[in-house]
């Protein structure tokens, strides 16, 4: 394992220090906690948004703290949900009295830890509510199981619900918008190879010279199945079709697209994939009003990418197009 790190135990702390040093105008750290909040938190009269999860997904989630997106981001150990006390501290710091929306990705750990924090906040009289993001189409839907994972589509929740809060909407309204985003967002991911969780020190899985993992999440876990590598166009087509077959799209529907790198995929390759995504959506007569390409929700140094598509109505489109000013999204 070769990584640019010092002691494995210090990774998260040192990373947070490095982020604050890089973006002193956008954010500050809650002293003694692994929590980043807006420089001007709490923002008076505004509903606050908090998100977070394990580390290793940078720029998620600290990179989206700033005007028009998140008020706070809580960082757990690498790929490990943060503990309730950390989340609770974040909630306390960002609440302006208008309430706090928790944006949780659908993992047992994230859900349980954030829920415990919400319970703690409620006990202190803070108004909190939550949404659970589950955009991953790779996992078949079932009421019996845990359900689907929350993956890169979470960025759309941060952006659009963030704009709603910035516009002055009440907590229940911001939650409604966030849930509309979740209901209309779908993501599919693939990978060319594993990543190495620093504390484990070993690759998360092994792939043959010609093998790829399809349908995988953002924690180095294996995907739904393996197949032989094919062309960028074939892979992308498979992913987009999986998404389009999961949620009905009418001709003329306006959409936004996120082609998200998992960490080690060159932007060159993401753009090559994006070319095909654009072509496929044009063929289906969908109208892409915004395209985002880059590393937004990563899985350490995993080579691979995901495609997210969100169906936009007038409200979501307007909120998506509002400016935001965060380290990783402007």
């Amino acid at each position: 394992m070769k990584k640019i790190i010092n002691q494995v135990e210090n990774i998260v702390d040192e990373m947070l220090k490095g982020i604050v040093k890089a973006h002193p105008d956008h954010l500050k750290r809650v002293e003694g906690f692994n929590v980043l909040v807006r420089k001007d938190a709490p923002v008076a009269g505004k509903v606050a948004l908090i998100s977070g999860g394990g580390s290793g997904h940078e720029p998620s989630h600290g990179g989206f703290v700033g005007r028009g997106m998140l008020d706070g981001a809580v960082a757990g150990e690498v790929f490990t949900s943060p503990t309730p006390d950390q989340v609770f501290e974040g909630i306390k710091v960002i609440d302006s009295g208008k309430g706090v929306l928790l944006i949780i990705k659908n993992y047992s750990g994230d859900v349980m830890n954030f829920e415990m924090a919400a319970e703690m906040a409620e006990m202190e009289g803070i108004k909190v509510d939550k949404v659970i993001v589950n955009d991953d189409v790779a996992v078949e839907n079932s009421t019996y199981t845990t359900g689907r994972r929350g993956v890169a589509g979470t960025i759309f929740v941060h952006k659009i619900a963030g704009a709603a809060a910035e516009e002055g909407m009440e907590l229940s309204e911001v939650k409604r918008v966030a849930e509309k985003v979740i209901a209309n967002t779908r993501t599919m991911g693939m990978s060319l190879g594993p990543c190495i969780v620093p504390a484990a020190g070993k690759p998360s899985f092994e792939l043959g010279e010609e093998e790829i993992e399809m349908g995988l999440g953002i924690h180095g876990e294996p995907g739904t199945h393996r197949e032989s590598i094919s062309s960028a166009d074939e892979i992308t087509t498979h992913m987009v079709e999986k998404i389009l077959s999961d949620i009905p799209f009418d001709e003329g529907q306006e959409v936004a697209v996120l082609v998200n790198g998992l960490g080690a995929t060159p932007l060159m390759e993401l753009y090559i994939a994006n070319r095909k995504v654009a072509e496929l959506l044009e063929e289906r007569k969908l109208k892409t009003v915004k395209t985002i390409v880059g590393n937004f929700m990563t899985s350490l140094e995993m080579p691979g990418f995901s495609v997210s598509i969100i169906k936009l109505d007038k409200e979501l489109k307007e909120l998506l197009e509002k400016t935001a000013d965060t380290p990783a999204y402007k």
Partner: protein, 211 residues
């Protein structure tokens, strides 16, 4: 036989050490069907818990267990943090005012731990989680105690059942937790949480055996 304070502290120390020693094993199991961190998570928690136990070792059973619970909740993270945290919290609530623990106490602990984990995680037996080790242990233990057997025997039977339950998770598909995203690919691998639960039950049994 019963468990006194000395045995109680010894059990807590041994189970912490065993978890810490199993870090790599648990990470490796979690690499197969999860995100490679169960060993790191548990080790972080129990390393901290050991320090905290030392600070409250003169207090009663309930306080000690509650200290462990709060430490796990604030250091482990992931799915296992809230679950083991809840488990120890429920155990703490089950032993209020007790100065030694007998068979019935352990039954009560088991029952509260199981209901706490179920409440927090919404999982059931057969979902390929820690419950698949804990519930069989409880059933075997209860049956043994109710049949009038000694704590030593009941504890051994519970441990054997936990082991069997842990091994059983290898053959089933995960319904809850991160491994559930793998679908059928989760079959063929032992669940890391069931393994850590077995390790804990086994450590307690080793102390009871000697006691």
């Amino acid at each position: 036989m019963l468990m006194n304070k000395e045995m109680f502290l010894k059990a807590l120390e041994l189970l912490s050490d065993r978890i810490i020693d199993s870090k790599e094993l648990l990470n490796d199991l979690d690499t197969q069907i999860g995100d490679s961190d169960h060993g790191s998570n548990m080790t972080r928690g129990f390393t901290e818990a050991k320090k905290k136990i030392d600070m409250v070792k003169d207090k009663d059973f309930s306080t000690i267990l509650k200290t462990i619970a709060m430490t796990l909740i604030s250091t482990v993270g992931g799915a296992s943090g809230p679950l083991y945290g809840t488990a120890f919290l429920k155990a703490s609530m089950s032993v209020k005012d007790r100065e030694v623990l007998v068979g019935e106490d352990f039954i009560k602990i088991h029952e509260n731990v199981i209901s706490g984990i179920k409440q927090r995680g919404h999982a059931e037996r057969g979902h390929k989680t820690m419950l698949d080790a804990i519930i069989p242990a409880y059933e075997a233990f209860k049956e043994s105690i109710e049949a009038g057997e000694d704590l030593k025997i009941a504890s051994q039977k519970a441990t054997d059942a936990a082991k069997e339950g842990m091994e059983y998770t290898k053959g089933i598909k995960a319904i809850k937790g991160r491994a559930s995203f793998l679908g059928d690919r989760s079959i063929g691998h032992v669940d890391p949480g069931a393994t850590s639960s077995f390790i804990i039950i086994n450590a307690i049994n080793d102390v009871i055996k000697e006691g």
